[in-house]
Every structure is written in C-alpha cells, then in structure tokens.
C-alpha cells in the first residue's frame, strides 16, 4: 500500500534520508519540511495520509513537533500522526494519546533500521491504528512491578508489550509463532490480572493498557 506522507524534520540529513528510505518502499513523500508552520501548510496543501513529525523542531527545539501534531490531529480527522524522536518521553506519549489512540504513533528514529517494522508501523498509523515504540512499553513496564503486572507470566508480558505497540492479535501470533487462539487466551488472562475489561479494537486496548501503566 502506498502511503502519502509529509515529513517534518529539521535536520536535513535525516529529512532526506527518511524521504529516500520511504520512497524505496514505494511510499509517496509529498512534502518534506523543516519546521512546524511549514508542516501545517504542507498538510493543508497535500492532505497526506500520515505526517511523520520530529518532536524537537525550531524555534525552541523542545516539543514544537508534539504541539503541531496535536493541532493537526484536532484539525484533520483521519490524518495519521507519527512522532519521530531520539527520545521517548512518557509525558509526550500521554499527551499524544489523550485524544484517543487512533492513527497515532511514537517511534524512536533508529527504528527505521528495521524497515519492515517501520513501514508496517507507518501503515498501521495510516490506517487508523497505533504504533508505540517498544521503548515506551519497556519504560512503562520497567516502572510498574507491583500492580498486577508482577503476576503476569513472561509470555503474558511479551504479549502485553506487543499489544501496547499497537499490534493486532494476528500480528502478535505471527511474531510469537503461536496460534491466534493462544494469543486470545493470553490477552484474556492479562485483562483479568490487570482488572481491565476487554474491549473491541486494538487501539482501545493500547489506551487502556497505557492508562493503567501510567497509574491514571
């Protein structure tokens, strides 16, 4: 599937590298800009499927990318937003997910090195799914050891991590080389142990998992 993409990244070598990489996988990079104002204009002009946005952009190089992403999501329903950063900040994750987790992603820049994973994450975001960096999940996991999570088996943790990354049951099953049925069972166990009500759809469970992990 060819996804129409706008890239916002202030470092030229990364902007060009990313555009090149995505083009290699048959995606169409309709615009590549270096700062938030140009990003808003480019999205308005080109109406892309996904905006890949660096978090630290001019003028202050703090969280301009995140602000632009939130603004874009409010103004453009159906636009996928993939934050692209050298760091994972849990606060940013929470803000990003506050308006719902459909069509959002947050990946470390180095994830592009696994091109299959990266493009599949991009596709997920483009089609309204979620893609959270494994690091987000690890950080949140690393932090919560004694709130039901401690009772999870290693396998269940693995499944929960993949769930939080935004994967479907089928994808998790493929990844862990087990049947869909086995995954469903794991997930049911996880929800019971974490005292969560299972609900339809991948992104909602990401959200609930994250909310739980986040202690809210």
């Amino acid at each position: 599937m060819s996804v129409r993409i706008v890239i916002a990244e202030d470092t030229a070598i990364l902007r060009e590298g990313l555009a090149q990489l995505l083009a290699m996988r048959g995606h169409e990079v309709v615009a590549a800009v270096a700062e938030p104002v140009a990003l808003l204009a480019a999205v308005a002009d080109h109406r892309p499927d996904v905006a890949v946005i660096d978090i630290r952009m001019p003028p202050s190089h703090t969280d301009e990318g995140l602000r632009a992403a939130l603004e874009l999501r409010r103004a453009n329903s159906g636009l996928g937003v993939l934050l692209f950063s050298q760091y994972v900040e849990t606060r940013f994750v929470r803000e990003l997910l506050a308006d719902g987790s459909s069509g959002v992603g947050y990946l470390l820049k180095e994830r592009v090195t696994d091109l299959d994973e990266f493009t599949s994450a991009l596709d997920r975001v483009a089609s309204g799914g979620t893609a959270l960096d494994p690091e987000v999940v690890t950080q949140l996991f690393g932090s919560r050891t004694d709130r039901g999570l401690a009772t999870l088996t290693p396998r269940e943790r693995e499944v929960l991590a993949l769930m939080a990354e935004g994967r479907t049951n089928a994808a998790i099953a493929r990844r862990l080389v087990v049947t869909d049925r086995a995954i469903e069972k794991h997930i049911a166990n996880i929800f019971t142990k974490l005292d969560l009500t299972a609900s339809e759809g991948d992104h909602r469970r990401v959200l609930s998992v994250l909310r739980y992990l986040d202690g809210r």
Partner: protein
C-alpha cells in the same frame, strides 16, 4: 631609697630613649617614606577625581545616546587603577597591606561587558574612595606644608637671611624692615633669625609625628573602604562568580546535549538509515560475508545510538527543556514504584536549579524504591518565600539518615553548592520525608 634611685635611673633612661628617638626621627627612613607617600598619593587622587568627574559627567550627559552608558561602564572599572596605585604605595612605603581586589574580568560580548562594568563593585568602591580621600589628602598636604615645608624654610632661614632671599619688606612706624614675617613680626635681627631657625628645628622634629597622625586616619579610611568592605565585596563577587560557574556548567551541559542531538546522534541515525538503504539495495549476488558485515555494522550503529541516548539522559534529560514539572512527570513514570507528582511552581527556576532539583528527586526516588520498602511515593514541588521546596515522601520503613550509605550526604553537598538545604525526617518505622530547599535562582 634604693628603689627610688633605680626608678629615677629608669625614668632618665626612658626619657633619653624618647629624646633620642625624637631627635633621630626626622632623619630616619620611615618618616621620609611617609612623606613620599603623601606627596605621591595626593596628586594621583586629584587625577583620579578629575577622571571620575569628567568621565561620569560625559557619560551622564551622553546617557541618552548609545555611548553614554558604555562610557560609564568603561570608566568605572578604570578607577581601579588610581586606587591600586595608592594601595601599592601604601604597601611599599607604609607597610600597610590591603589585599588586591579580584581583577576585573569582563565576559565576552559588548552587552555583557557593559553590564559587568556597571556592576563592578570594586570599581564603584574606588570611585567612592577617591572622592572621600581627596578631602583627606588636602589635609595631608596641609600637614606636610606646615611641618616639613615650613620647618625646612625656618631651619634654613639664617642662610636665606644672609643671602637676602625670601625677604619681605614692610614699613613699621616709618622704619623699613626686610625679613621673614612670622605672625606680623619681622625677623630681621640675628637673634630673631636664629629663633626662627630653632623654631624650624622644632617643626621638623614634630613633622614625622604630625604626618604619622594624619596617616593613621588615611590607613583607617583605606582599611575601611578598601579592606574590610573589600572582604564583603569579595564574598559578593565570589557568590556571583559561583552562580555564574554553576549556570555556565548547566548551559554547557545543555549545549552539549543539543549539539549531540543535532550532530552526532543525527549523524548516527543517518548512518543507520544509509546502512539500511544499502541493505535494501544489495543484489542477490552479494556474498554471505558481506551481508554479515553489513548486519554487524547496522547493529553497531543501533547500539551506539542507544548508548548515546542513555548517556545523554544521564547528563541532561531532554524532558527538562519542557520544565521541571514535565521532567519529574517522566521521571515518576519511569520509577519502579508508583509516584504521585504534585507540582505548583508560579515561576520557572533557572536551568541549574532545575537540573539539581531533577537529579535530586531522581536519587531520592531511587532510594525509596531501593531502601524504604514502600510501595509508593509522593513528590511535592512548591514555592515558599522565593525558595523552591521539594518534598519526597514515602510510607516505608524509615530510618534514613545522612550516614547510612543512602547517598543523602552527597546529595546534601550537591544542594549545598547553590546554598540549598536538605532535611531528613525519617523515624524508624517510617514515614520518611526528605525536604530539599533550593533558591529559585542561582
């Protein structure tokens, strides 16, 4: 009787000592040094005061233009030279050693230079000292004039009288008198002339002591205005330079983090991207060995990026850019136990304070999860009377103190670098409350 004789002899010998001292004083080196001091210092003070008046007057007159303020900022440290001259003469000629103030080292950049010049406390102190000491020096010169100068003139009067120099002519009762006039009386007879000469000797004997009494005042003023006040100013300067050093380190670390982010880290990611693309474009005829090398290179690049990220978060967590509250939120989210963060800060502290606060909380939270056995912790961040108050509480087993290897002592030292305080309230059995108080600004 015996005792009386001994007492009398002692008295006589004491008087002899004093007389000998008084007689020798005018020709020993110390009075001459003191005289030289007064004669050298006074003109330099006059020059210094002229310099102050002219430069400040011109500066104030031009204050509305762009050069007025810079002119003053340049003139103020410039007065240090006049004071330094006097201090050095006092050390060399009087043995009065007032420590040198710290040198004026303006930071680079015109604006910083101007601001440092205007705030140069040593310079302003010099200005005040010069103005006050000008009055004192007038007195000093007068003392020298009436003792040393008149003494010499009077002493050598017989020679002048014989040679007919320095003679005034007045007419008293129709008679013409030529000679030195002292209090309306003309010394024109040899007995009178010799009497003047004797008076000159007396003045010269008195001169060293008169100058010394004057110098007592001069030394006191110097110690007061350049010495003791100097210590207070030195403390202020040290505080300022310490604050500058602390902020400078914070800014440097922040700059390194930014440079790494935009430079090395970006390049490493670009390198990884290129390797990925290379991998993508490899044809089927590439050897297994080449593929393995490429995979290894890619792994190294990824590991490098990860390590760099870890390292950077240890020196300046990027979340701090968004403020202490955000950074503490991220910190809390990463903590092994749940942490409630309550932050109410009406204004943002300076960068260095935020960094110290952040790493203090990080360490305290590590302590809570490692030592306290508590299952949750609270972090409170408030401002009280212009101070930042950080409180980390847990319901654990308590018993924390500065000496049981929890790193609290090191933490106390660290907050001490900015005049912060750390208080431990941790009875055995808990709860533990650690309070850190920091200034909002260094």
């Amino acid at each position: 009787m015996r005792a009386g004789r001994v007492g009398k002899t002692a008295l006589v010998s004491q008087v002899a000592v004093v007389v000998r001292r008084v007689l020798r004083e005018p020709v020993s080196t110390r009075p001459l040094s003191e005289l030289a001091y007064v004669l050298l210092a006074a003109p330099v003070t006059v020059l210094g005061v002229l310099y102050v008046i002219v430069s400040l007057a011109v500066g104030v007159a031009l204050a509305v233009t762009a050069i007025g303020i810079p002119l003053i900022s340049w003139a103020v440290p410039g007065t240090r030279g006049f004071t330094a001259f006097r201090r050095h003469r006092a050390a060399g000629l009087l043995g009065e050693r007032i420590p040198d103030p710290p040198p004026f080292r303006p930071p680079p950049g015109l604006l910083s230079r101007v601001s440092a010049g205007l705030r140069d406390s040593v310079g302003w102190r010099s200005v005040r000292y010069l103005l006050v000491t000008l009055l004192l020096d007038v007195v000093g010169l007068y003392v020298v004039l009436v003792t040393w100068a008149w003494g010499l003139i009077a002493l050598t009067y017989p020679i002048q009288f014989a040679l007919g120099v320095n003679q005034s002519t007045i007419v008293v009762d129709g008679q013409v008198h030529r000679g030195l006039i002292v209090h309306g009386i003309v010394a024109d007879t040899w007995p009178a002339v010799l009497l003047v000469s004797v008076a000159g000797v007396a003045l010269l004997l008195l001169a060293p002591w008169a100058v010394r009494v004057f110098l007592l005042a001069d030394r006191l003023l110097m110690r007061r205005m350049l010495g003791r006040a100097g210590a207070a100013a030195r403390i202020r300067d040290l505080e300022r330079s310490r604050a500058y050093a602390i902020e400078d380190v914070a800014a440097t670390v922040r700059r390194i983090e930014r440079d790494l982010h935009d430079g090395v880290q970006a390049r490493m990611v670009a390198l990884a991207m290129n390797l990925t693309m290379l991998n993508e474009t490899l044809g089927p005829d590439v050897s297994e060995q080449s593929r393995n090398l490429l995979t290894a290179a890619l792994d190294h690049a990824k590991d490098g990026i990860g390590e760099l990220r870890h390292m950077v978060s240890g020196i300046h967590p990027p979340a701090l850019d968004a403020g202490l509250e955000t950074a503490l939120g991220t910190l809390a989210a990463r903590s092994p136990i749940p942490v409630d963060v309550r932050a109410e800060l009406p204004e943002r502290p300076t960068e260095a304070i935020e960094t110290i606060a952040y790493f203090s909380v990080a360490e305290l939270l590590t302590n809570v999860s490692k030592h306290s056995g508590a299952d949750r912790a609270t972090v409170e961040l408030t401002e009280t009377e212009g101070r930042l108050v950080l409180r980390v509480c847990d319901e654990g087993r308590g018993g924390a103190n500065l000496d049981n290897g929890t790193g609290l002592r090191g933490l106390t030292e660290r907050v001490g670098t900015v005049d912060g305080r750390l208080a431990v309230d941790s009875p055995v059995g808990g709860p533990t409350v650690i309070t850190i108080e920091l200034p909002l600004h260094t």
